[in-house]
């Protein structure tokens, strides 16, 4: 009976589990690690309970949350990749230094021997950990972007960690050299180098394989310790102005375990789970790699293992080639290699400062309008999907770029009129919005019920034959529809005039045709006009057509070129409906933008272009369908550039907001900042989107669709919308150029 190799089995299990987590994090958690939920509301005994992060483990947060309300469990899951990668890279780095040193030392090179010894002495006097902390805390290193930061991290950890490995390997080489059979190789007249190649490498190989896994474990535990000292990759100092002055935060952006330890250690007494679970993750991985190494040692060091003969074969086959190319040729090659890397890097940096983005060379549909639910909208969607095919974008599922969704029954207003007294100056969308009405022309007097307490009223007879004016500010929507039903049930009225709450007015393109009488929403100014009139009379006429029940989102995926980054996606949301020629240009703009960004194969990250239907009416907007059935991994969607409200080809100011791209979303955050500064530099004025700060995040009040992706999917969002005012001194082409350049600039 064979004895089971328990360490190997356990180690393999753990490593396989880690790999599974790294490759398919979605399978382990449906939550985005970036999602923050600072406050939890619950009703208990009739009163509202508010719980502030860090939340303890519960059904909602399996392992609890950190102080920013991020789910520890999904953070650990998504952090596995980067953490293990760091461990592996560090181990590789250490080997790259230690192996040549150890071998040359083992063959009597005094300098290497002394170097290994002295470094070991040095690092036993001053702990390697301390040196790493000091170096990696340097401001210069702390401010690097992700890749450079990983590189710096790995380099430092390799430099301080290799001597121990070097000494181990040197001992091993010594030991191999002292083996009696090496002496007999000398005795048959073989040269030293030949003996080294044939024996030392292959005999060292199993030990190296074993040590490699142990080294990963060692590196991981060092990374863990560094985390406690607030040193980790993806770390950036956040400077925040507070009343007391300027304060610094060490914040972990990227899901990565050491960073979790760093931020959470301050909450050890109040939120121990935020420290314990990442520490356990470290512990399990360290154990896994150690056990795996141990298990391998058990196999590889058995005499009948075929590992060494195989390595030898491999080596003796290749070595001649390597030897010959090593001389002048090898050097020449490496010089060319380095030069071409520098060259292509500088190319990257210099490229991308082109001309404006011209939208006149896009052939647009003939129709003058294309609103949701019409054949024209379908034609526009087809045009976009043809373009996507030309640009070799890929659809997200099956064969079609076009995703359909069901919309509620709604009608498109064909003609409308709103006359107050004898004034016909009111414009739809800003002064009035017809919400619901049968076709026809309706006129009558206005009964002002804005100062009445409709709750306590029982008799509505004085409203007979009038349009009833109600102020929405005093009641919620449910209450208002309750009143309207009640009034209509008891007396016959002409209709209802609802005074909008602040910011509630929206473009007047669609309406319902359900209610028996007209419901129109008016702005505060219009209401004031009415109140100023002695005997207000109103005439409303409307004709509308009921729309089809299908909305169309056109989604195309443009794969990034960088193997390491093309999992990450930048989502660009654009509108494609239009109701005049100005809006039609936005469709042209969207297509050109897509062309410009996708045609050059220089995007590192992948891009997802979503042309959404129904964007001019939040109720119909394709964003809800997209959110409900999101076609990509939400955690890998690094940012959503929401331009759904971009409906003017010329503007003075843009509404812009990167509030939902907070500093915890590195990429979105820095893209947002860069975009903002590029816009400002280009002389485009910026108006912040209206928002309120609630709990820990910003909610936009202008448009509920602004919040959808961030609040419901956890995708960082940058809002770019048209500001209604202005005479259009800036053109949309200008914005396009800035977008293309900013996205192409490979910022972190």
């Amino acid at each position: 009976m064979k004895r089971m190799n328990m360490p190997l089995i356990m180690g393999t299990l753990i490593i396989v589990l880690l790999l599974a987590v790294i490759l398919f994090p979605e399978a382990f958690t449906s939550k985005s690690p970036y999602n923050m939920q600072h406050l939890i509301f619950s009703r208990e005994g009739g009163s509202l309970e508010v719980e502030v992060a860090p939340h303890p483990p519960s059904a909602q947060f399996i392992l609890g949350s950190d102080d920013m309300g991020r789910d520890i469990y999904s953070f650990i899951i998504y952090g596995t990749g980067l953490t293990i990668l760091l461990g592996v890279l560090t181990a590789i780095g250490r080997f790259l230094i230690a192996v040549p040193m150890a071998i040359s030392a083992g063959f009597g090179n005094g300098t290497s021997k002394t170097t290994i010894r002295q470094f070991n002495i040095l690092f036993s006097a001053i702990p390697a950990l301390l040196i790493s902390v000091i170096i990696l805390k340097l401001d210069y290193l702390a401010g690097l972007d992700k890749r450079a930061s990983i590189l710096a991290f790995v380099t430092v950890l390799s430099l301080v960690g290799w001597p121990k490995l070097g000494a181990l390997l040197m001992e091993r080489v010594d030991f191999i050299n002292k083996q009696p059979f090496i002496r007999s190789e000398v005795a048959i007249g073989k040269g030293r180098i030949k003996i080294a190649v044939e024996n030392v490498f292959p005999h060292l190989a199993p030990e190296m394989v074993v040590l490699f896994f142990m080294e990963i474990a060692r590196a991981l535990s060092m990374i863990m310790q560094l985390g406690i000292f607030s040193v980790f990759v993806g770390f950036l100092k956040i400077i925040k102005d507070t009343e007391g002055g300027v304060s610094f935060y060490d914040i972990s952006f990227e899901p990565e375990w050491a960073g979790m330890l760093s931020t959470a250690k301050n909450f050890l007494s109040t939120a121990p789970w935020a420290v314990i679970f990442p520490a356990i993750a470290f512990f399990i991985s360290v154990l896994g790699f150690n056990l795996f190494g141990e298990g391998l040692r058990n196999i590889l060091q058995r005499k009948d293992s075929l590992f060494i003969p195989r390595v030898r074969k491999l080596l003796s086959f290749d070595i001649k080639y390597i030897w010959s190319s090593f001389s002048r040729k090898g050097k020449a090659f490496s010089v060319i290699f380095v030069v071409s890397i520098i060259f292509s890097l500088s190319f990257f940096i210099l490229a991308g400062n082109g001309k404006k983005l011209d939208i006149t060379d896009v052939s647009l549909p003939e129709a003058h309008t294309a609103v949701i639910g019409t054949d024209e909208a379908y034609a526009a969607a087809r045009l976009i999907s043809t373009k996507m095919e030309e640009l070799e974008l890929t659809p997200m599922d099956s064969e079609s770029f076009i995703h359909t969704y069901t919309i509620p029954t709604v009608s498109l207003i064909l003609e409308q009129k709103f006359v107050l007294g004898n004034q016909d100056k009111y414009s739809a969308g800003t002064d009035y919005t017809i919400l619901d009405s049968p076709d026809g022309s309706f006129s009558g007097g206005i009964y002002d019920a804005t100062r009445m307490d409709l709750f306590s009223m029982e008799d509505f007879s004085m409203m007979e034959d009038y349009f009833v004016m109600i102020d929405k500010a005093y009641y919620n929507d449910a209450a208002i529809s309750y009143f309207m039903n009640k009034i209509e049930g008891s007396v016959s009225v002409r209709g209802f005039i609802l005074v909008a709450r602040s910011g509630e007015m929206h473009p007047n393109i669609y309406c319902d045709r359900i209610a028996p009488t007209t419901r129109v929403m008016i702005s505060g100014e219009t209401a004031k006009d009415i109140k100023d009139m002695e005997k207000p009379e109103i005439n409303i006429s409307i004709s509308a057509k009921t729309l089809g029940e299908t909305g169309l989102n056109v989604i195309g995926f443009c794969k990034g070129m960088d193997e390491l980054l093309n999992e990450e996606v930048i989502m660009i949301g654009l509108p494609f409906n239009y109701s005049d020629d100005g809006e039609k240009q936005i469709l042209g703009f969207g297509i050109r933008l897509m062309e410009e960004i996708c045609k050059k194969d220089k995007n590192r990250r992948s891009l997802m272009f979503v042309f959404m239907d129904g964007t001019d009416y939040s109720k119909l907007s394709g964003i809800h369908a997209l959110e409900a059935d999101y076609p990509y991994s939400a955690s890998k969607t690094k940012v959503f550039i929401n331009m759904l409200d971009l409906n003017q080809a010329g503007f003075d100011n843009l509404i812009f907001s990167n509030l939902q791209a907070p500093f915890t979303r590195q990429y979105a955050w820095s893209l947002g900042r860069q975009l903002k500064s590029n816009l400002e530099q280009a002389g485009i004025g910026i108006t912040e989107a209206k928002s309120i700060f609630f709990g820990d995040q910003y909610y936009f009040t202008d448009d509920p669709t602004y919040n959808t992706m961030f609040m419901d999917r956890g995708i960082a969002t940058i809002i770019i919308a048209a500001d209604d005012e202005g005479n259009g001194k800036n053109s949309i082409e200008h914005l396009g150029r800035i977008l293309v350049d900013t996205i192409n600039d490979n910022i972190y």
């Binding site: 009597g108 083996q179 009696p180 059979f181 002496r183 007999s184 190789e185 000398v186 005795a187 048959i188 007249g189 073989k190 040269g191 030293r192 030949k194 024996n199 292959p202 005999h203 005499k303 009948d304 060494i308 003969p309 030898r312």
Partner: protein
């Protein structure tokens, strides 16, 4: 002494006054204090001595098997076919090692690379020296050294074979190069007693067939008696007597040789009371400028403490005991 210089020219190997220190540069320990050897073509010379007396160190020095930084040769020269081996470069030595001087180690199993198949081991050797061979000639040589089923053995790893078989493989490798000199360092000590005689016979056969000279190192007088023509006896890093086997057996010229012979013959005669030497052998830390055997010698006199005695020529060899040399002379 013209005859002696002529000897030098004709001898296969002539070592005179070899002195070796081992250990690091900073802390060398003198191990060999005086070793001489003269070997003609086709001769078998035995190097005999207790363990620790310096047999292995001196024989490895001949083949240059020490690393430069672990050994230093303090005096003497090693003339092989007229060439001073100590003056050769590493590269030139590599041409000689294996090809002209073959070395068979004490522990065959440890000395064969555990991860190389036998066939690979042998072919590697042949390739190193560009020796032409066919698989047939390889198989034949294996048969010659007494390996049964050579085809199978070629595909086996050393750990799958017995010590005796591995020793035959080593010997096979040694004779594949058809060297002029074979150094065998206690080739039989780690093998079962049953197989010892077979290996000794094999070496004698090879010696006859190829006219290959052999330096045979052993601590066992019986083994030496069985195979050698000449003997060199070592004690405390010094050669203390050398001469033809017969003469030393019949008329040892050093008290230590005398003791060795007595030990051996008491074993042979099956005496119930084994004769054994009092005291313990000399280790390098105890080396002093005096006769190395002084402490254990029954014939010691005060003058034995006055420096290390010089080698004195006697009839049929030389000895490091001036007292016995004198007595022998007077006896003759």
């Amino acid at each position: 002494m013209t005859t002696s210089t002529e000897d030098n020219m004709n001898s296969l190997l002539k070592i005179s006054n070899l002195q070796v220190s081992l250990g690091t540069k900073y802390k060398p320990v003198k191990i060999i204090r005086g070793f001489d050897l003269c070997l003609e073509k086709g001769e078998i010379v035995g190097v005999l001595g207790e363990s620790g007396s310096g047999k292995t160190v001196s024989s490895r020095m001949i083949a240059g098997l020490f690393e430069k930084d672990e050994s230093s040769m303090d005096a003497g020269e090693i003339l092989f076919k007229g060439k001073n081996l100590t003056m050769l470069s590493e590269k030139e030595m590599n041409m000689i090692r294996g090809r002209e001087i073959a070395y068979v180690f004490q522990d065959p199993t440890m000395s064969l690379n555990p991860y190389k198949k036998v066939g690979k081991q042998l072919r590697d050797f042949l390739d190193t020296h560009d020796i032409e061979y066919t698989s047939e000639s390889l198989v034949n040589t294996l048969k010659e050294v007494g390996i049964n089923r050579p085809e199978t053995v070629l595909e086996m790893f050393p750990f799958q074979l017995s010590g005796g078989q591995n020793q035959r493989i080593m010997i096979c490798q040694a004779i594949l190069g058809k060297p002029d000199l074979l150094i065998a360092d206690e080739p039989t000590s780690s093998i079962d007693a049953m197989l010892r005689k077979k290996i000794l016979d094999l070496l004698t056969d090879i010696n006859r067939k190829y006219g290959m000279a052999i330096i045979f190192i052993t601590h066992d007088f019986d083994v030496a008696k069985y195979i050698c023509d000449k003997l060199v006896i070592m004690y405390g890093g010094l050669m203390i007597e050398q001469g033809p086997l017969e003469r030393i057996l019949s008329n040892p010229m050093h008290p230590y040789s005398d003791e060795l012979i007595k030990c051996a013959s008491s074993l042979d005669s099956g005496d119930s009371r084994l004769y054994s030497l009092e005291g313990s052998p000399l280790v390098p830390s105890q080396f002093r400028d005096e006769c190395p055997f002084y402490n254990r010698c029954a014939y010691r006199i005060d003058s034995c403490l006055e420096g290390i005695p010089k080698m004195v020529d006697v009839t049929g060899g030389s000895t490091r005991c001036p007292v016995w040399a004198e007595r022998g002379k007077s006896r003759v």
